[in-house]
Symmetry: C2
Subunit: 163 residues, 2 copies
């Protein structure tokens, strides 16, 4: 028994990442907002419209993929997507990219927000986003990323999913 | 103006990861609970006692490091540490490792819990933990990890910190 009202807990379930890339914010932004750029670090099967209001289709072979609506972008500063199709845990969640310059580096602050619960799949997606951010870093620093189907596997390759 | 008392909210933010490693839970557990194992994927400067109640010192050269108290362990299943020294954002936070077998793989569910706020440093730590988990995976699958000082840099090497 307790005689005080219980505090309401607000559990924030976000995937957060931060990487520093030896590249300009302008080049980093290009890699996030052109089909050519996205194909070179996330998945070589990237289709759709990269403008605001457009819909991007990211596919990963038999594992399926995601459709993202481009909600917002500000050149060299910010990109915001909302997931409109599959998987069910992702629908409605938002993916944001904030860019800022620090010396010779562009700092990328990444958030995948709006998860309802910290399910095991979310843990997986956190690790997988981390490895795709390293692919983005590698693309911009060396000219070579690791997009699907050559992505770094964080799990059994038979079970590894893109998200 | 609002006519209802504001609810007191308690924010909870966690770093979550999940990797699948082609290894047994027993071997994975060894890599998390022996100085030899920890030195081979996290930092080659690992000291201290790995038993329950013991204190482990992880050091990363001029960047400093962490002291962890071993709160709990269950062979091949679970390890729980609490950060007792530095950096300030880490003090009191807990790091847990849950292991389970799936076919030829050990699934590692990782949580770094108890952050007070989703500060920029937390975004960095999320990416850095992700890359150290890949170092753990590599150690167990190939015999070679990437512990500090040979860790994968997620930022400008001059500024990259271990946490």
């Amino acid at each position: 028994m307790q005689d005080q009202p219980q505090k309401e807990e607000l559990y924030i379930v976000d995937i957060l990442h931060r990487v520093g890339i030896k590249s300009s914010p302008k080049e980093t932004y290009q890699a996030l907002t052109t089909r050519e750029g996205l194909s070179a670090w996330w998945t070589n099967d990237t289709q759709g419209e990269t403008k605001a209001g457009g819909k991007l289709q990211f596919r990963f072979g038999p594992s399926g993929g995601f459709d993202m609506k481009v909600l917002e972008f500000r050149p060299a500063e910010r990109v915001l997507w909302q997931v409109v199709e599959r998987p069910k845990e992702w629908i409605g969640t938002k993916v944001s990219w904030e860019l800022k310059q620090e010396g010779d580096y562009t700092i990328v602050l990444f958030k995948h927000q709006g998860w309802k619960e910290p399910v095991e799949f979310m843990h997986h997606c956190s690790s997988k986003w981390g490895s795709f951010l390293m692919s983005l870093k590698s693309l911009l620093e060396t000219g070579k990323g690791a997009p699907w189907p050559n992505d770094i596997k964080v799990d059994d390759p038979q079970k590894d999913t893109p998200g």
